[in-house]
């Protein structure tokens, strides 16, 4: 093939440009450590990148939901523990009052203490996390318990609050986090409270018949009621541990997905640097070879 000066120049420029293009590409990748800058860099990896990042956002959101759910359940659990110890406290007082050796005024004094403890229970029932009442069911902006004299009313509802931890619709049987007033205090949200008020009224009266009532019906009430409080706390505890496990799983998954994202789009830096050095060498060689082969022609040797 006949080679002309233009052929050499043109081919030289083309390959020099190619070499620069390659350097530019590696340079772009090295500057932020990512292999993908536009979909055409690698369409398959781009789709995976979008999907992984989407999964990551999903995972982080569900982790956040789980944390919210956990803090809600922990608040509930603390209130339930306090409630349980107050119930024990009341029981001790009732046992003390019903042993048949107390004068009427001593029993009435115990009645005062129980009255205070009932107020404490109402306060516990109105526990808030942020500005949300935890025992109100879905009516979390409504104070659930009010006491007027010897009537305690429950204003919440019996609906569950769902905090989703997986894709799909809300399923209150699986992802609810709250105990409603009815769950804690029996039907109507005030059965147990009414029992306690009844006990308090008998203590206030303090007569022997009242003491007998306390020793039988009163103590029965307290036993079954405490058992029911414990039972709902246990249910909550089970749900909590399930959420705890889910949280662990989410966090593990988070590590996996982050790894996937990195493996998919992060640059193999040492390889990139070697590639860069390589292309730099090629570029330099091309320049020096070009400088040597381009100028000479017969013209240089004619005198």
């Amino acid at each position: 093939m006949r080679i002309t000066n233009n052929t050499i120049t043109y081919n030289f420029l083309t390959s020099l440009n190619k070499s620069l293009e390659r350097q530019n590409k590696i340079q772009e990748q090295l500057s932020d450590g990512k292999m993908l800058h536009r979909p055409s860099d690698d369409p398959v990896k781009t789709i995976r990148s979008l999907r992984f990042n989407s999964n990551l956002v999903q995972n982080e959101q569900f982790t956040q939901n789980l944390k919210d759910a956990k803090s809600w359940m922990e608040t509930t659990d603390n209130a339930m523990s306090d409630l349980s110890s107050i119930m024990i406290n009341i029981k001790e007082l009732v046992v003390q009052a019903s042993n048949g050796t107390n004068p009427q005024d001593a029993v009435q004094t115990i009645g005062k203490s129980v009255d205070n403890l009932i107020n404490q229970i109402v306060t516990l029932g109105n526990t808030k996390i942020g500005d949300r009442y935890v025992f109100s069911g879905q009516m979390d902006k409504t104070q659930p318990f009010t006491r007027v004299g010897d009537t305690i009313t429950y204003h919440g509802d019996t609906s569950k609050i769902s905090m989703p931890i997986q894709p799909g619709s809300a399923t209150p049987t699986q992802d609810s986090v709250n105990l409603t007033g009815a769950d804690v205090f029996g039907a109507g949200g005030n059965t147990i409270l009414n029992h306690l008020l009844e006990i308090k009224q008998h203590l206030d009266a303090g007569a022997i018949t009242d003491q007998n009532w306390l020793a039988t019906t009163g103590l029965d009430y307290l036993d079954t009621d405490h058992a029911s409080v414990l039972q709902s706390q246990t249910e909550l505890g089970t749900r909590m541990s399930a959420y705890e496990m889910a949280l662990n799983m989410m966090e593990k998954q988070n590590v996996v997905i982050t790894g996937d994202v990195a493996a998919n789009e992060d640059l193999d830096i040492p390889k990139a640097i070697i590639d860069f050095k390589n292309s730099e060498n090629i570029y330099k060689t091309a320049l020096s070879v070009g400088a040597r082969i381009m100028p000479p022609s017969l013209v240089d040797f004619l005198r």
Binding site: N5, S40, P164
Partner: protein
Amino acid sequence: MRSTFAGLNTLTRGLYANQVSLDTVGHNISNAGTQGYSRQMVNLSTTKPQTVFGGYASYEVGTGVNVSSILRARDTFVDRQYWKESSSLGYGQTMEDILGKIEGVFAEPTDTGIQTVLNKFWSAWQTLAVNASDSGARTAVRERGVEVVDAIQHSAQQLTDMVADINAVLDIRVNNINQISSELYSLNKQISNIESGGLNHANDLRDRRDVLIDELTKITSANVTEDKYGNYNVQVNGVMLVDGNGYQKLATTKTMDTDYGYEVKNVVIAGSTQPVTFTNGEMKGLLDARDSSEFGAKGYLDKLSTMSKFLLQEFNEVHRGGYGTDNSTNNNFFGDGGATDPDYNSAFSAGFTDGDWIKVLKVNPDLFNTTNGLAKIAAKTSQNSLAVVQSNASGGTASVSTTGSYTGGSTPTNVSVRISTDASQNVSSIQYSTDGGTTWSAAIAGAAPYPSTYSINIKGLTVNMQINTAAANVNGDTYQFSLSSGNNASGDNAVLLSNRLKVDTSLSLGGASLDTYYSSMTGALGVQKQNASRLADNQQVLVNTIMNWRESTAGVNMDEEMTNMIRFQQGYNAAARIITTMDEMLDKLINGTGVTGR
């Protein structure tokens, strides 16, 4: 017998031939870098010999050299290859360029692309699902919605701007074609005049004409033939652009795109409405990149329109099915809003063009109402239920529903309603009390026919109460219910809405979820751009190879020219020397002979 001075003529021709050859070497060297220049060669031939009769036979004496022609070194076959492939190169480069710009519009994968915005929108709904009663979470949902709208509309705007740019380039290219055509025509005339003798020797004009064809074939594919007079006949997809008699101008016409309402420029034959179609080259690239529903700006606008439509129809559908904290329902999340919030699944949107769907997309302005906007975001699937307690168990049943937002804070309000009945025990009026029966409001009369609905405004709520007329109603019966801020912690509809974005598949999105629809669109864009780049690269390599072939025939090689220079220089010198010799011989003959005895 030959003439005494015959040899001098022979050498004059020799001098002349070497001079012309040296001139041509100079021309070649001067034009070594000229675009489209083909090296020229002097064709020498011997002149007619002189027959000399002598003795027994005649013999032929050479009379020297003649310049028979100066022709360019050119391979027509390679030219045709070049013209064919450079159209594909033009097409590939244009597609690569414009698809690269479309990639820039969508800017994936980055932290600012539509995918990220959709992810954030989804997260906001999930957060609302968990904290449904929190107005902060509601605000976040609304603002993320605005981001989604902005991202889609901004991309659509950029694509529309791109269409305008393409139209402008089309105009420029049509002008280029016209310029080239007119120049080709004038070159045709000059060349056919010069070559009327029959020899293709209008070398430099032919070079110039071939350069123009090079330029033309990059813009559009063209069929080039040469007629017997040396004219190029150039056809573009059946339209005769240039021949020996004249040339055809092209022009652009303006129409409006029926889907998106933007301006579209189309190429026609000037002075008529006959459209010109292009099968390859930059022109086809530009038209494809603008109009193709698969990989053009329009195709990507279609995809954005599909997404907008999905949000306005299917996403809104879920939102309309839910209830806000003010118990309102049938509210759109996206759309124009207004007193009668239109349902985009209904006949209301039947006449919408693809462009209208993008235009209409915005977060419902009603949600920005400072008093009740946030309350309209439908995070729950059921409305507040009110339990009614009645004093007379055998009385009529009452139904109570509310609208509006409760302003009484966390304390519920107990409402008692007392009824008055007329003679036939129809409920004729009611009174209500919010303080347990101490004070009663003035009687609110109902209208016949009974039962009628009573509306009462209490603490921001509009309470609609209806008591069935029943024979057992007694004058003075009471009904009680309690008003509160309601079951605002319910976020089940927010979960359904977030599912609409990531989980639910839709036939309008080709059986994918919105998330998948967008990511596969991005993937398709990547593949298209990659293909265009590959086509452009491959075509470039092919064109380079053809260029090298062409250069190898037509290019100027300095060494060769220098060698020729020496050859012709020496030839000239030698001829001159022979003239000197002849001069000496003649000198001898004239001045040295016949002097004997002088």
